[in-house]
């Protein structure tokens, strides 16, 4: 089976900042809006290099979203980035009407995704953003698994032909492991490990945990398939249905509420295409809390051990 090496921990936020900088270097239409927390959401590199294309709008997310729509209507490709909780909820109506209904090419960065934000606690841990963003018509929702992938997808978000894109990323340095030559395209799932007993469908930071679980399960003779879903919407239905047909069991893993996120998106596809049991790992309809990222991931069952035990329970039933 293929093994993935961690080249060293790196925050997905850093990958986002690099992707934004590359996009800005390649295309003068790219502009970035600052909502006060510029460095904290990965926009500082761009702001330093292109001060004339950086627009400071302060702590006013609703205005940031509407302003971005105005920029997009005038030929710019704007980004506004803030913590995912505020991007998706504080500005939700502006995103729905001014951005999505007008179907504008605006990139929305959602930082501090998941409980791995750590000590800031529940108010700042984005756990509902995927659910909110994926119900918006016209919206594309990205949730890359490591810093390298975040860089690639950020660039693709700017270079596509149009339409709004939400991309979520985290703060904590995490494994950076996706190989340079791994084909990465918005809308396509990535088959990281092939297997026939069960499919672990993961997104964001949880993909690395899913891989660790799969290695460990392999030693027990369970061949788990690992599918990385970096595009929650439009979701790769074909890859999911193929997994359902070929492995008959699915487990989803995400740093997000189990309601409305990746698990729901997968269940929607499976129930239409090829119904099989889907077990969902994520936040179980509750808020996060303060603690170190590692402590929180463990407490809420968002680690390889929890994935492994869930797989064992499911495959037992299968026999």
């Amino acid at each position: 089976m293929e093994t993935f090496e961690n080249r060293g921990n790196k925050a997905t936020k850093a990958g986002f900042g690099e992707g934004l900088l590359m996009a800005g270097t390649r295309d003068p239409r790219v502009v970035a809006i600052g909502a006060d927390i510029t460095t904290s959401v990965g926009v500082n590199l761009f702001a330093e290099k292109f001060p004339d294309r950086f627009i400071s709008l302060g702590i006013a997310e609703q205005n940031c979203a509407g302003f971005a729509a105005g920029l997009a209507l005038s030929g710019k490709i704007p980004l506004f980035s803030t913590y995912g909780v505020f991007a998706s909820l504080r500005a939700a109506d502006q995103i729905r009407v001014s951005i999505c209904y007008n179907n504008l090419h605006v990139i929305i960065g959602g930082a501090h995704a998941g409980v791995s934000v750590g000590p800031d606690g529940a108010t700042h841990q984005a756990l509902e953003d995927i659910a909110v963003m994926r119900v918006m018509p016209n919206m594309t929702v990205l949730s890359p698994c490591d810093a390298s992938q975040t860089r690639i997808l950020t660039l693709q978000a700017f270079e596509r032909s149009g339409g709004p894109v939400y991309i979520r990323f985290g703060r904590e340095p995490m494994a950076d492991f996706t190989p340079e030559d791994l084909p990465t395209t918005i809308g396509r799932a990535q088959l990281l490990i092939d297997g026939k007993d069960i499919t672990i469908i993961a997104t964001g930071h949880m993909t690395w945990e899913a891989l660790q679980a799969a290695y460990s399960l392999e030693k027990r003779g369970i061949h788990a398939r690992v599918l990385n879903i970096h595009t929650i919407k439009p979701i790769d239905e074909e890859a999911i249905i193929r997994a359902a047909i070929e492995t008959r069991l699915i487990i989803t893993v995400e740093e997000h509420q189990v309601t409305g996120g990746l698990g729901s998106a997968v269940a929607e596809v499976v129930s239409r295409g090829f119904p099989v049991p889907v077990h969902m790992i994520g936040m179980a309809d509750r808020f996060g809390e303060s603690g170190s990222p590692a402590e929180l991931m463990k407490k809420f069952g968002l680690d390889s051990k929890s994935i492994e035990s869930a797989v064992l329970r499911m495959t037992d039933k299968k026999k």
Binding site: G66, F67, G70
Partner: protein
């Protein structure tokens, strides 16, 4: 080609009344919608589209056109009627307002391809942010066109309007002109009873805007004020246009109950008659 601006206030008044007649008829045909505000904005819209805006109905996507962002989407009928009268699309289409498949959605929707619509909007409090973004983009690109944004007074109760007001002043967007339709009423009654807006002039001033005030039904006043607004530099400009809801139809003027109501077909005939009678009477 770019339409030739009119400068005769009497001619503008004629046009505004024609727009009002279209508004009444299209709303009666639609069976739902917002009559009051659509009527009171007719003078402002006639002045903007026939005198002030640099635009070209035959080339709605002209990059250097002035933009009008309608933040209060519910007065779409006055925007539609004005666009039809100024030549963006045939007037007959006004009678499809709010019908299935129509390009004239209840609140403006760009996706159906009606020419002249700059923004799909209708959720209050969003337009000024979009207009400010357009104004900054124009400045970045060294363009000289202006952005006009029409707001309702009740709409100013939305906090997001003031976020946008702060941003526009901070960035000194003097190519942005906001027009507040100060008719003093909203669905629940008088604005000052629902949630006080006064002192409105001082509020905008303290947010860093140049504030102008005018009679929103006097065409010479409107022409002068828009001309002054376009030469003021250094700050965004807001025009508080004092208006009377339902203006033009004496029997409903100032009555807040006509905010979100439409005439029956019989009433529409009556209202048009009132309007024409008053026109003749001067």
């Amino acid at each position: 080609m770019v339409s030739q601006p009119l400068s005769d206030p009497l001619q503008l008044k004629e046009i505004a009344d024609d727009i009002r007649i279209s508004v009444i008829r299209s709303l009666a045909e639609a069976g739902s919608g917002h009559l009051g505000g659509s009527l009171d904005l007719a003078d402002i819209f006639a002045t903007l589209y026939f005198s002030i805006l640099r635009h070209d109905p035959e080339n709605p996507a002209w990059p250097d056109r002035d933009r009008l962002v309608l933040s209060i989407g519910h007065v779409a009928p006055v925007l539609y009627a004005t666009l039809a009268h100024v030549g963006y699309f045939p007037k007959e289409e006004l009678m499809t307002l709010r019908k299935l498949g129509s390009r004239l959605q209840g609140h403006p929707g760009r996706d159906l391809g009606l020419p002249g619509i700059e923004l799909s909007a209708g959720s209050l409090g969003q337009g000024l942010s979009v207009a400010a973004g357009m104004a900054l983009a124009a400045r970045m690109d060294g363009k000289t066109h202006k952005i006009y944004c029409v707001l309702g007074d009740g709409e100013l109760q939305e906090g997001s309007v003031w976020e946008a007001a702060m941003a526009a002043a901070h960035h000194s967007l003097d190519n942005l002109v906001a027009v507040v339709d100060r008719n003093g009423v909203q669905i629940d009654g008088q604005t000052e009873k629902v949630l006080r807006l006064e002192p409105l002039h001082k509020k905008w001033e303290s947010f860093g805007w140049s504030v102008l005030e005018c009679n929103g039904h006097n065409h010479s006043d409107l022409l002068n004020i828009f001309r002054s607004a376009s030469v003021l530099r250094g700050k965004p400009v807001v025009i508080i246009a004092n208006t009377v809801m339902g203006k033009g139809v004496p029997s409903i003027e100032g009555d807040y109950r006509w905010h979100g109501k439409v005439p029956t077909k019989e009433q529409a005939v009556e209202f048009v008659k009132e309007l024409v009678d008053r026109k003749i009477g001067g």
